[in-house]
Amino acid sequence: MLLLDIHCERDAFQLQVRESFSLNGVTGVMGPSGCGKTTLLRCIAGLERHVQGSVKFDSTLWQSEAAFVPPHKRGIGYVFQDGRLFPHMSVRSNLNYGLRRNRKYLDTASETLSFEHVVEWLGIVSLLDRPITRLSGGQRQRVAIGRALLGSPKLLLMDEPLSALDWASRTSIMPRLREINREFGVPVLFVSHNREEIARLADEVVLMDNGCIEERGPTRQMLNRARGSLADDQALSVLEAGVVNTDSPYGMTELEVDGRSLMVNQSNLRQGQQVRVVVPASEISLCLENISQISIQNRLLTTLTDIQDIDDHHALVRLTLDEQALIALITRQSRHRLGLKLGITVYAHFKAACLEVV
């Protein structure tokens, strides 16, 4: 539990946050650049000097009118956007930096276990004796994540850890980030301006704008809707699905969402596994009748529960399955041509190839 009541003024910018975070799993903080996401994280870490108010983590008061616990005594981990590895040390020494300094809280056996565990889990065993200058961007961020984890943090703060990376490194690290919370049991506060990252990683989404927290809620509830500040042409929806059949022909995997079958072309999934599917709104097309003579594999029967024009040309449609919902982006012209109204039944079509499964 993190209790914040802070006010931070710097140059022409103001941050004003009064919230409590339960910090179950991964909390994703989202918002346009300059909205105060990073400042919020820095205030929690104790890195921001001109901040007033109070910060309380579980039963420990990190900051109040009277006291200020410096960052090195807060027991946090922080992964910076630019990694901030120590250039005069090898990968191993970087990883050991936090481990050594937090040794007093750990017993020797569990400590060595966790070093090997973390290093293997991140796939950086072969890099251990390399100098920092000879690492790629993706390798650097892996080391930075490992270094932060090895400090045995009570709270892991991540500030756009993937934004400086190319697409390939991003895709290879993302699944690791999703596992951190489960694997090491540490709550994560994750800042990103990238909606897809948030959709894939966060359990709870916090929306910030102009130095304030605008809105927050469970990820599905926040993303899968046709209104609000995320209702634009970048909209996407998140589905929670179960893996029901991994031996479908042609290497396809069958998932189940609200009793409906969903095909994805991903072959590394396990039977019974719970996965998250990210569907971009622009990839969904609507059909009023069930057409089977079509290359598109995924045709879900849905009920139209919301529709909203978002600009001069486009509208967002909310399509409810049973529990869960999809968001589709269509043109306003289609909206009128099809005569879309609340409550009608619609088939949502989308290609198996456009889905991100995590």
Partner: protein, 227 residues
């Protein structure tokens, strides 16, 4: 016989000079590192005043500094009196007095390169170290020093070399006691005065060579840094 005696005078001067420069450099590094760090991170309005005080020996004629030190060392004034009460001897015309003077005289040559390096240091690394559990002193030792290693080396060399090269201040407060306060530059001056050109040549050439070697090392160090 005369030559042997001269050998001893030169030898003594070399010994006094090395002892003075080493002691001064050691003290300068111990005082200069925290001072430079403090200055590099200082935001208060006192900063230019302190910087000016530290830098004063660079523009002041050494004789001015020497004169005021001589006044301060006098047992009639508070610093000299305190020292006399504490140790039973005076600071003027003593090796300790020379050390005190050299530390003040060479301070800017140590503090300025250190301060410049500290100012250029990526402060993000320190934040990173802090979140990993390192306190301020720990950060200084584990991050700041290794990151500024070249500047630390440069500062020590400059402090040492500048102390070897001082003349005016030593003349004012140290006088010319062989084996005690007679450093090379003074011994050279004395040799010329007494028309002992053999010794003068030996010492001048020695100092020239020392300065040359030191500067070549420093510049190649800088070259490496820019690479």
């Amino acid at each position: 016989m005369t030559e042997q005696l001269l050998q001893t005078t030169v030898g003594q001067a070399v010994w006094v000079t090395l002892k003075l420069a080493s002691t001064t450099t050691l003290i300068l590094m111990m005082a200069g590192l925290p001072l430079a760090w403090k200055l590099a991170n200082m935001k208060s309005r006192a900063r230019p005043v302190i910087e000016a005080l530290v830098g004063l020996p660079m523009v002041l004629p050494p004789t001015v500094l020497g004169f005021y030190l001589l006044v301060a060392f006098s047992p009639q004034n508070l610093p000299g009196k305190l020292w006399l009460d504490m140790t039973g001897s005076t600071l003027a015309f003593s090796f300790t007095g020379l050390v005190v003077a050299s530390v003040i005289y060479s301070l800017p040559f140590v503090v300025q390169p250190l301060q410049r390096a500290f100012e250029q240091l990526d402060k993000g690394l320190l934040e990173s170290a802090a979140t990993l559990g390192a306190g301020p002193l720990d950060q200084f030792i584990s991050i700041v020093l290794p990151q500024s290693l070249r500047a630390v080396l440069l500062a020590a060399c400059l402090g040492f070399a500048h102390t070897v090269g001082e003349f005016g201040v030593v003349l004012m407060i140290g006088g010319n006691l062989p084996g005690e306060t007679q450093v090379l530059s003074i011994a050279l001056f004395e040799a010329v005065e007494t028309q002992d050109f053999t010794s003068a040549h030996t010492m001048a050439a020695g100092l020239l060579l020392f300065a040359l070697i030191l500067l070549v090392s420093l510049y190649s160090l800088e070259r490496k840094e820019h690479r």
